[in-house]
Symmetry: C2
Subunit: 614 residues, 2 copies
């Protein structure tokens, strides 16, 4: 509880101030979501003045509570809270949504008190679960996670992944405050003010449920106290509210979503005018994060010529990294035996998070864990990362440092068929802001890249292969991100074959065949697809005049397009051809699949002959 204990009249006044300021900044911006802010103003007033423990002067303090606006469009309310807490000035409040202002339309971590970007609904609570998992399972920390949710976003499946994970994990440090204002963007929600309908559903997932009038500060205060009397369950406070509360022109009216009030001055008058209440927010309890020692890893080593799946190398390297670094955590989507993340789980069960088949929650939990300084690796089949693409997209806006691993890439998985084949993952992950995309071809290279990812900022992605591939490189070789390997370059080369992952060995076989036919070719192992080794590609293209790319991926957005983009602005682009998977695979052996797609050694050699001698 706060040092001061403001009385209820004060809390009511504070709620009105938050409404007024939400209206004011939206009016100044000419856009924004004041009505969605007004419904939750009393909820946030009581939280700010009596329950939140947060030092706005020191957001890095590890004992600070976490406050997440899962309904990110209520940003005017959040920013009005910052003003009330003295964290920003009134002048800054009025920069809302203007160019250069950190007070964006939806909150992002450009603001030091915002952990993660929200605005794609249904993500704040799942991320909160990740922060709560850290607090309960890893840190034994005193902080609480307060998540303001909308009622509309309860339609998102990701919310139910979060309810399930939090209930199952007994996250009593997590409090979801659900602003049931009954009106979505386009119209009424399914359940309106029937908070009992939500209570049944969320309660069934083993949450503690409190139903209140979300405009009654006494009820709100009691609800927070009840939630904080932790009983091993997370709490959902279902607060019946009115959208646009307090202003007759918009209160509980449809068609008032996402726009400023038409007469803000009148509305402010109706709310009792401007106020300048200043809230002294309670300080966080003193808490020190336990040290997380980091040492250089002792990686597994493979001899050249061995046959090892890169997914196996990933698992072994990850376990070794976990030995060396106490900050590494791993998340699984119930396929750890396939991805080989299992090896980490066995070595470090305390830092392994089983998210079951809930990829959205898996990524969100990873985002939450990195908020608390952990170094998360999240692994599933490459194909199933597509399930969480919106979360990955938002993680980039959240400035999250996240390591994703997708196994079972491409047709080379063989018999399981197209539903299990990652064939769009390179396109998907390349089109993430600031991302890194890696696709190793052998075990030692994989291990090196797994280590490099740990210190890589942003979203990095490692694509692994199900089947065995030959170990081409020694265990002490280096593979910097942004680099490549040129294999078998000669002065008379007429072709550069650019491959990655499973196609590198195929390309080497093709180069052997071609050499025998008097068509010498070099192979470029483009293990770093983004950033790609532009200098080497240009050099090779100029030397050989012909470039052939080959990838186990759809033709769009993968290795070939990355190579093209790298070569395109060069003055002398080479003759070029791209090999990729261009028809829908069925079931077959890995070798049959590569053959059918034309990306095996024979397919590469054929394409090379066509390209060089047209």
């Amino acid at each position: 509880m706060a040092a001061q204990t403001p009385d209820y009249a004060y809390l009511t006044e504070l709620g009105q101030q938050l409404r007024v300021d939400a209206i004011r900044c939206s009016a100044a911006a000419g856009s924004g979501h004041p009505t969605s802010s007004m419904s939750a103003a009393d909820l946030m007033a009581v939280l700010l003045a009596r329950h939140l423990r947060y030092d706005f002067g020191a957001p890095e303090l590890p004992g600070n509570d976490h406050l997440i606006f899962s309904k990110g469009h209520a940003s005017p309310l959040l920013y009005a809270m910052y003003k009330a807490a003295g964290a920003i000035t009134d002048d800054e409040l009025l920069t809302f949504r203007k160019a250069g202002s950190r007070l964006e339309g939806h909150p992002t971590p450009r603001i030091p008190w915002v952990d993660v970007a929200t605005g794609s609904l249904g993500q704040g609570l799942p991320v909160g679960v990740g922060i709560a998992l850290s607090g309960k399972r890893l840190e034994e920390a005193p902080y609480r996670i307060w998540v303001l949710c909308g009622d509309s976003e309860l339609a998102e499946g990701s919310m139910w992944e979060a309810f399930e994970q939090a209930g199952y994990s007994n996250l009593d440090n997590l409090i979801a405050i659900i602003d049931v204002n009954r009106l979505g963007q386009h119209g009424p929600t399914r359940h309106g003010w029937d908070t009992a309908a939500y209570a049944r559903r969320i309660g069934a997932f083993d949450w503690h449920i409190i139903e209140i009038d979300g405009h009654d500060v006494v009820e709100i205060d009691r609800a927070y106290n009840e939630a904080l009397a932790a009983d091993g369950r997370p709490t959902a406070i279902l607060a019946r509210t009115k959208k646009g509360k307090g202003v007759a022109a918009v209160e509980d009216k449809p068609g008032k979503h996402g726009k400023p009030l038409s007469d803000p001055d009148e509305a402010i008058q109706e709310l009792g005018g401007r106020r300048e209440l200043h809230v002294t927010v309670a300080a966080p309890p003193s808490f020190q994060v336990a040290e997380r020692p980091v040492a250089p890893p002792r990686l597994p080593r493979w001899d050249t010529g061995e046959q090892v799946a890169t997914r196996t190398a990933f698992g072994a390297a990850l376990a070794a990294l976990g030995d060396a670094r106490a900050d590494v955590v791993v998340l699984d989507g119930e396929v750890a035996d396939s991805t080989r993340a299992e090896q980490f789980a066995e070595a470090h069960p305390d830092r392994f998070f089983e998210c079951y088949i809930a990829e959205q929650q898996m990524i969100a939990a990873a985002v939450g864990l990195q908020v608390r300084g952990w170094v998360p690796y999240a692994a599933t089949f490459a194909a199933f990362l597509s399930r969480a693409y919106d979360f990955i997209r938002m993680a980039a806006i959240s400035q999250a440092n996240l390591r994703l691993v997708g196994s079972h890439a491409g047709v080379s998985i063989g018999q399981d068929g197209p539903s299990q084949m990652g064939l769009e993952d390179l396109a998907e992950l390349q089109a993430v802001y600031g991302s890194t995309v890696l696709y190793p071809c052998d075990a030692n290279q994989t291990a090196a890249l797994v280590v490099a990812m740990a210190d890589r900022p942003g979203i990095s992605y490692l694509r692994t292969t199900r089947g065995e591939t030959p170990v081409l490189y020694g265990p002490d070789e280096e593979f910097p991100i942004g680099g490549s390997r040129v294999i078998g370059a000669g002065p008379n080369d007429r072709l550069s074959i650019v491959a990655a992952g499973v196609t590198v060995a195929e390309a080497l076989h093709a180069a052997e065949q071609l050499a025998g036919e008097g068509l010498p070719a070099r192979v470029i192992d483009a293990y770093s697809i983004k950033p790609i080794d532009e200098a080497t590609l240009r050099w090779a293209a100029r030397e050989t005049g012909h470039v052939l790319t080959v990838e186990d991926h759809w033709p769009e957005g993968g290795l070939g397009d990355a190579v093209l983009a790298a070569l395109a602005s060069d003055g002398q682009p080479p003759r070029f051809a791209k090999l990729a998977v261009s028809s829908m695979p069925g079931s077959a052996t890995p070798a049959e699949q590569l053959r059918a797609a034309g990306i095996d050694a024979a397919g590469i050699a054929d394409a090379a002959r066509t390209l060089i001698k047209p």
Copy 2:
């Protein structure tokens, strides 16, 4: 009920036969999921022999029930059912997972009795909801939808989107049969055999719940009868089963997922040996689909020079298309006012489906509706299609004909900030097998493309713009998919600027500026990004020698890369530059955003000068 009423001993025998055949075909394949099949064998035996109404000789009959294996990995069981029903021979059963066989590792519509591909968990039930919506709301059809679900996939949020939509929509033609075998791939599920935990959860979503022993054919039969006694609610049958049931070496044992039995002969013996029971499956009731008249649409018309948002043109054209075609249906993710799908909703409320903020269910429902012959358009913000990317990926494997519309594309939305900006949607949708990607720049073009999409097979995507753009083309002009428009071409052009959507008008302004500086340039409006107009691009590149692309999208996988790929295999690639969004936007006006990203007229002109006079 079936014409014959097989006795319970027969049903038990049939269950054993299904197990034996699942083991046999997996053994022949050397891979597959026999244990996941064995748990559900009794459930499917009773269904096939006593409750399913299906003519395997005439899968097109509109009265046929629908059977979906949401747990698609149990394909050996499905194929064993086909054999028992006489739909395939034993020889064909043993082609399971072999190259060229339609009996793939996970079911796909290459099999005539399979509606949709499954294998990415948590998708079969949401698609079943779509088929059920058609049956109840549009067709008043007698068919029932049986969906075999796994317990592991209950962790997927999409299942809860489906439970919510089905319960709310009173879909009593939908029966989810949940095979609670307590073991996932990597280990035990969260709730094991605690079917009461699932009953509480699913029941809270207003489903009728039946808990049974999934190996007791009497209980199973009673449960199906109870489910069919429709009471306005969908039914979930929670069946406690044992994975690998009937074979001691694998029964209820961990580590036995997704692999053939090590001693299939002994297992078959333990199950009582091979059987050759043949099931006469009940015929479907006679049912005729009501005619859905299709006439040429009378499209709205805009005059050149007007300022109209393409999203507005989309809404108006869609409503007009709905007037002309009774087969068009529209799905919304609770943003119909923003996407303008609202215009269709007002004109045709009976064919409008509000899916609330549940994009996965929205896409799945669209897939289900097209299974029943409807022509669905699903619209949300371009950014939020990323929420359903796995569903879109799978829809392509399902051979679905689906029209997706993404509004609010790019930085040009302005103040709302990056969470609301579709900046990866072109990459995402281009990397879908067989997809079509369209990005109109004006209202009349938009209307024409909306119509063209209706008859386009596969997944087609229309990207629309939030703000107004000038009408450039007359209302009677034609815009074939795969085409482009060349604007202002002259014999002395030194540059081709390739733009689409919001950047076309910017490119035209830039071309004006450049012409004044003695740098004549033409603009290519590449409204069809996939397939792209390769011939025109090559012609323009050769004529002008310089190509500059400009797009409101991340640099990866969008328009620029599509143009590069089209030009790359030409003998004489041009000098090239790509303009795209390369830093993370904040909030600002649309014009400020375009400026900051360097994709407005000034940015284009600058880049053109640099490209031409390096």
